[in-house]
């Protein structure tokens, strides 16, 4: 006899909550902490109901101090807990950068494994929700450059739950970035039960044979729309790959798709300079360079601060820009 898996259609932010609830129920050492995460349930309601269910000893409102939140989480993690620390917005993480760079990610090596830091930092990020300045920063590449840190970004509810559970269970620090644009823009079927998605594994959003399109976060649904339009206008099909983990990248999936299509478009809303696009191109260079039929195209934000919201739509990679890049690679 098989038991039917209970499934609910959830928004991504509900799935994030569901992942934390699942882990808080399963593991006494899991804690949620940050500013407004308790009674208020988080500014995006990501911790809604957790305070009521688990109490103030497990879901903790902290003082407004990002370095303090991350720094004390390091101590909690070293001493037997699994903190999930919330930054209210990724653009507010800069005061905590020192704790991440100099301690959280080095503790294992500096102590040769005596002290480890199994913690997750969650942060909403990205443009397109008309937030005030700084709130919309998309600076994931700052963190893929930190040795000792995994960087994970879901684009839908199902992935969000599985990836967040995997992040909480990971023995090392994980930065879990939640694209605000995806929080409530769609619903996906999410099983009630616990499941995890291996970190470092990309997923095929759709499969095709002519162009490999790689992206993550809130650019995934935008990219799919643009690709569908492009495919209708051309006699061509695309692989659309959601990378999901930006460090470590899934080199096997990248190589497999590039070897099949020979044409690549990389799309991200972050600035191009020093961006993750460079790492992806480096993987292609090492694994599948000789399969390329055209120069790799990239569609990114500008090398400027993310503009205030009257101009943010101009900043974000548009459907026109994505289709233009697809046209360019196909015309070679």
């Amino acid at each position: 006899m098989t038991t039917a898996v209970q499934v609910k259609k959830l928004t991504m932010v509900q799935a994030v909550t569901d992942a934390m609830r699942t882990m808080l129920e399963e593991d006494e050492s899991v804690l949620v902490l940050g500013e407004d995460v308790g009674q208020n349930g988080g500014v995006f309601r990501a911790t809604d109901g957790l305070f009521e269910q688990f109490g103030e000893e497990r879901v903790i409102d902290t003082p407004l101090a990002e370095s303090g939140i991350v720094g004390t989480s390091i101590g909690l993690a070293v001493n037997g807990f699994r903190p999930i620390a919330e930054m209210q917005f990724l653009g507010f993480i800069y005061p905590a950068f020192n704790q991440l760079m100099t301690h959280a990610t080095r503790m294992r090596q500096r102590s040769m494994g005596r002290y480890t830091v199994p913690m997750v930092i969650r942060a909403p990020y990205g443009a397109g929700v008309k937030a005030p300045e700084i709130h919309s920063d998309s600076v994931e590449a700052l963190f893929t450059h930190i040795p000792g840190l995994k960087v994970v970004i879901p684009s839908n509810a199902y992935d969000a739950k599985g990836l967040l559970i995997a992040s909480i269970e990971d023995p090392d620090p994980v930065l879990f970035l939640e694209p605000m644009r995806c929080y409530r823009s769609s619903r996906t079927e999410v099983p009630d039960e616990k499941y995890s998605i291996e970190l470092g594994k990309a997923s095929y959003v759709k499969e095709g044979s002519d162009v490999t399109v790689m992206t993550w976060g809130a650019m995934v649904p935008d990219t799919v729309k643009a690709v569908e339009k492009f495919e209708k206008e051309h006699n061509a099909t695309c692989d659309v790959i959601d990378l999901r983990t930006l460090y470590p990248l899934d080199k096997d999936t990248i190589a497999e798709s590039v070897k099949k299509t020979g044409r690549v478009v990389i799309i991200h809303e972050a600035p191009s300079a020093g961006g993750v696009n460079g790492d992806i191109i480096s993987v292609i260079n090492d694994t599948s360079f000789f399969y390329l039929k055209a120069p790799i195209q990239k569609v990114t934000g500008f090398d400027t601060p993310v503009p205030v919201y009257s101009l943010e739509q101009e900043y974000l990679p548009s459907s026109e820009k994505i289709i233009s890049a697809l046209n360019t690679t196909l015309s070679y």
Binding site: A65, S67, G71, G75, N79, P95, N98, T102, R108, P248
Partner: protein
Amino acid sequence: MLERFPVTQYINEDGELIKQEVQEELSLDLVKMFYEKMLRARMMDKKCVNLQRQGKIGTYVQYEGQEAAQVGSALAIEEGDWMFPSYRDHAATMTFGHSLRNLLLYWVGRIEGGIPPEGKNIFPPAVPIASQLLHATGVAWAEKKKNTDRVSLVYFGDGATSEGDFHEGLNFASVFKAPVVFLNQNNGYAISVPTEKQMNSKTIAQKGLGYDIPSIRIDGNDILAVFIETKKAVDRARRGEGPTLIEAVTWRYGAHTTADDPSKYRDQSESDRRRTTTDPLLRLEKYMKNENSWDEEWLASMEQKITNEINTAISEMKDYPKADIDQVFSHVFEKPTWTIEQQREHHMSIKRGKV
């Protein structure tokens, strides 16, 4: 504020016990133990400076003059408690059980140098200023959550009190009543910047007021004051009454590090004067002389014992197996990522090719 936070002393510069209420607890054995631990720390520090001058270890951070502040406080915590040193606090860590060999290994650039003996809860020295206050708070908070009576003792200098993490550490500890003892060593200078340029406040202890943290200013060259007041703070923390801030006023005789030249920013004759006035070892010597219990033979035998211990540690450091590049690749993540594995393989294959 100077009146509100007077410098608490137990034994004054003339070696006189000025708090008679502790006389019964102050046995000669205890005084001799204090002296021996401080002498051990001082001899180790001097040896390290010598080793650096000979090129046998790298740049070294000395603490001579601060032995009472470090040794006295380290003796106030127990096995199972946690210590969070900065890079200048080897007198504290060696007193709490860190091995002299590993201390030396730290200064020859070995990862092993930051690792305490099994069962000793000592963090690797924090290099970024004040960052360790938050770790101490987090660890102590965890102990509180686990319903233990273990505490954190964290060291930092006067300059650290200008950093945000100092304030965030005190605030978090205060809000969550974490069992932490914040032990500040105010040695007068943050490299070249004197206290009066570091802060407009007259004391560091008063900074605890803003966080409702009991705070005290003590003579950091008086080991009895350091020991007793730290012990009180530790006991408070163990009872669940939260954090304490202690400002131990002291002085470093030498440079900030062996790479620094203090004559550029301060009059070093002050250090010479202090060797004859406020020195922590001299103070106990005077006390013992006042008590007619000073014993040159005892001193000589201790010096010999400590010299032997240090020489053994130096030999162990020299004989320690060569650093292995595998340590770099193996301890970043529990399981190395493919990028790290790839870089390890490439590095090793190039190395093998060169042999």
